[in-house]
Assembly symmetry: C2
Homo-oligomer: 349 residues x 2
C-alpha cells in the first residue's frame, strides 16, 4: 500500500517530506529545464524564502571548495550557542565545459560529508538550460530552500561577471583570496572586492599572507559598499523599483571583516561561521535582508524573461529564413542590426 501511495505522491510532496532521491531528481529536472521541473518549482516557490543564502566566490586556486566543505561541517556540528543547521551546497563552476571539473569537486567533498542526511551537495555540471547558469542556480537554490535546508552555500569561481552576479545575489557574499596569487591586482581586477560582505584570506599559513591582508585592508574604504549591491539590475529602465530602503547612519554600516583561514586544517572556520551569523543578524536588523531578497527575485525574473523571449522567438522563426539572413551577413550585404530587423519585422529600417 505504501508503495502505491508513494507512486501517487507528487514530486513536490516528496520533497517537502524530505525525500532526498526526489530532491536529486528535481534538481536534475531543473538543470535540464523540463516541464516537470518547472511545475514543481511553481508549487514549491511559496515554501522558499527561509534559507540563508551564502555566496562563496574567489579566483581558482584559493581553496574555495575546501572552505565550503569545512563550513558545512562546522554548521553541522552543534555548539553551545547554536543548533546544527541543515546545509545545502550548490557548486557553480562552468569554466570548463570540456573537462567537466565539477564532478571532481563532488568526489572530494563526499569523503567528509557523505552519509549526513543534513547535507545536500550539488555541482552544476551543465550550463545549457533556458536562461543559462543564473536561472539554473536560482532554481536549484529554491528547491533546496523549499526542502528545508537552512543554510545554502553557493560556490562560484569569482572570475567572470556571470559568476560574480550569482554570488552578489546571496544574502551574504564571501570573497576568498589567497597569498601569492597576484594579490592586489587579482582583487581589484576581478572586481569582486566591492561585493564582499566577508573577506577571507585562505592558505593563511603561506608566506605572503601579511601582504595580502594589507592589500585588502588598503582597498577597503569605509562604507564603500552600502547598498550598491542592489543597484545593479538587468533590465535597465526598471532601476527605480521600490525597495524597502532603510535609512542608515554611517555607524550602522557593515564593515566587511578580513578573516584568515587554513581551510585544509579547519583553522579560522569557527570565526568565519561566527561572522556569517553576525552578518545575518545585521541584515535582519537593518532591513537589508528584504532589500537583497527583492533584488535577487527581480534579477531572477529578468533573467527568466530574457530567456523566455528568446525561446519563444526561436519557435516562431523558420530555419530557412535564419539561414538566408546569416548568408547575407556572411556576404556583408546586410549588417547585424539590419539582420535583426529582418528577422523580427520582415524588413530592415
Amino acid at each position: 500500500v505504501l508503495q502505491y501511495l508513494d507512486a501517487a505522491m507528487t514530486l513536490t510532496a516528496s520533497i517537502l517530506e524530505g525525500d532526498r532521491l526526489a530532491l536529486a531528481r528535481l534538481l536534475t529536472h531543473i538543470e535540464n529545464d523540463t516541464l516537470e521541473g518547472r511545475t514543481a518549482l511553481n508549487d514549491l516557490f511559496r515554501f522558499t524564502g527561509q534559507a540563508h543564502l551564502i555566496g562563496v566566490t574567489g579566483a581558482p586556486g584559493t581553496g574555495k571548495s575546501t572552505l565550503v566543505n569545512q563550513l558545512a561541517l562546522y554548521f553541522r556540528n552543534p555548539a553551545a550557542n547554536r543548533k546544527p543547521a541543515r546545509v545545502g551546497i550548490v557548486a557553480v563552476d562552468p569554466s570548463s565545459p570540456f573537462t567537466g571539473g565539477a564532478i571532481l569537486g563532488d568526489r572530494v567533498r563526499m569523503r567528509d560529508l557523505a552519509g549526513d542526511p543534513g547535507v545536500f551537495i550539488r555541482s552544476m555540471a551543465s550550463r545549457g538550460s533556458l536562461g543559462g547558469l543564473a536561472s539554473s542556480t536560482a532554481g536549484l537554490v529554491q528547491a533546496l530552500d523549499a526542502a528545508g535546508f537552512e543554510l545554502i552555500l553557493i560556490e562560484t569561481v569569482g572570475a567572470g561577471q556571470a559568476e560574480v552576479d550569482i554570488a552578489r545575489l546571496a544574502h551574504t557574499t564571501i570573497v576568498v583570496e589567497a597569498p601569492g596569487l597576484g594579490d592586489e591586482i587579482q582583487a581589484i581586477k576581478a572586481g569582486i572586492l566591492e561585493i564582499a560582505d566577508i573577506l577571507v584570506v585562505n592558505k593563511a599559513d603561506r608566506s605572503g599572507i601579511e601582504n595580502t591582508v594589507r592589500a585588502l585592508q588598503a582597498m577597503l574604504q569605509p562604507a564603500y559598499r552600502s547598498s550598491s549591491k542592489v543597484n545593479q539590475t538587468k533590465l535597465g529602465h526598471h532601476q527605480d523599483v521600490q525597495i524597502n530602503k532603510t535609512p542608515q547612519g554611517e555607524d550602522e554600516l557593515w564593515q566587511p571583516p578580513i578573516l584568515r583561514t587554513v581551510a585544509t586544517d579547519g583553522i579560522g572556520v569557527q570565526e568565519l561561521g561566527a561572522a556569517i551569523a553576525s552578518h545575518r543578524q545585521y541584515l535582519k536588523q537593518t532591513g537589508d535582508w528584504i532589500i537583497r531578497e527583492n533584488a535577487r527575485l527581480k534579477s531572477e525574473l529578468d533573467t527568466l524573461l530574457q530567456a523566455t523571449l528568446v525561446y519563444r522567438w526561436r519557435q516562431r522563426v523558420s530555419m530557412q529564413q535564419y539561414q538566408y539572413i546569416l548568408e547575407g551577413l556572411s556576404k556583408r550585404t546586410i549588417s547585424p542590426h539590419q539582420a535583426v530587423e529582418l528577422l523580427l519585422d520582415g524588413n530592415p529600417s
Copy 2:
C-alpha cells in the same frame, strides 16, 4: 568652403577617409548604442571583414596589456619580410564597474603608442549598452575594421565566460599565462586553454617558468582543438548551421605553440608576431578563416537578437504591471516562471 563640406560629410564618410576624431566619436556612439552609431555601423558593415582579429586573453596579472602594447609596436615597425600594419586595440575589462580600471590601461599605453596615426586604442569603459559587452565589442571591432585597421587586438580578462566568448570569436586567440599564478589549476579551471591558438608564458624571466611550460605541454593533447571553437553557439537549435567545413587530415591541424615572452623588455615578441602571421596563413589555407568569420557573425547576430527582443518587450510592458508582479514574487504568491507568463501572456499557465 572646406568647413561646410566637412560638416555635410556623414560620420561614415569621415571614417572611411581616416578621420580619427570621427572614429573616436563613432566608438562612443557604439558604446552608448545610439541611433547614430547604429546607422553608421549599418553603412560601414560592407567595408568590414578585412582585418585580422586577434584575441588576447588571460588571468589578471599575467601582463596581457604590456604584451598587447608590445605587439602593436612590433606590427608598426617594418621588417624585411613585412610592411607595417595599422593596428587597432580594443581593451575589454568590465571587471570593475565601480573603479573603472580600464581608464588606467589607456594611460599606460599612451606613453609608447601616442601620436602614431597607425594605432588606435580604445578601452571599453562601460558595459551598459544594448546587448552588453559582446555587442559593444563587436561594434567597436567592426568600426576599426571598416576604418582600415588591418590588425585588431582584442584584449580581455580571460576569467569569465563572457570574456572568453569574446576572445574565442577572434581569428587568432592568444592565451597568456605567467609563472606562479596557480599554474595548472589556473589554466584548467579558467577553461581557456581549449580556445588557445597560441599559448604565451609571459614573465618568462621569473622562477617557475619551466613548471608552467611543462604543465601547459602536458595539457596540450594533439588535435584536442580542431573545430570545437565554432561548435559553441548561443541559440541552441541553430547549431546545425551550414559552415564551410574543410576536410582536414590529422597532419594539417594547427598545433598551438607555447611561446615565452618578457613583455616588459620586448623579449619573445618577434616570435609571437611570427606565430600570429603563421596562424593567419594556416587559417587562410585550410578555410578555417571563413569558418571563424561565420561563427563570429552568427554569434553577433544571436546576441543582438536577444538584446532586441528584451528591449522591445520593455517598450510594451507597463511599469505598474511589472511592479505588481514583482510584489507578487516578493510575497511568494507567484513563482518566477508564473511571473514571466503573467508578464508575457497576461495569465499564468
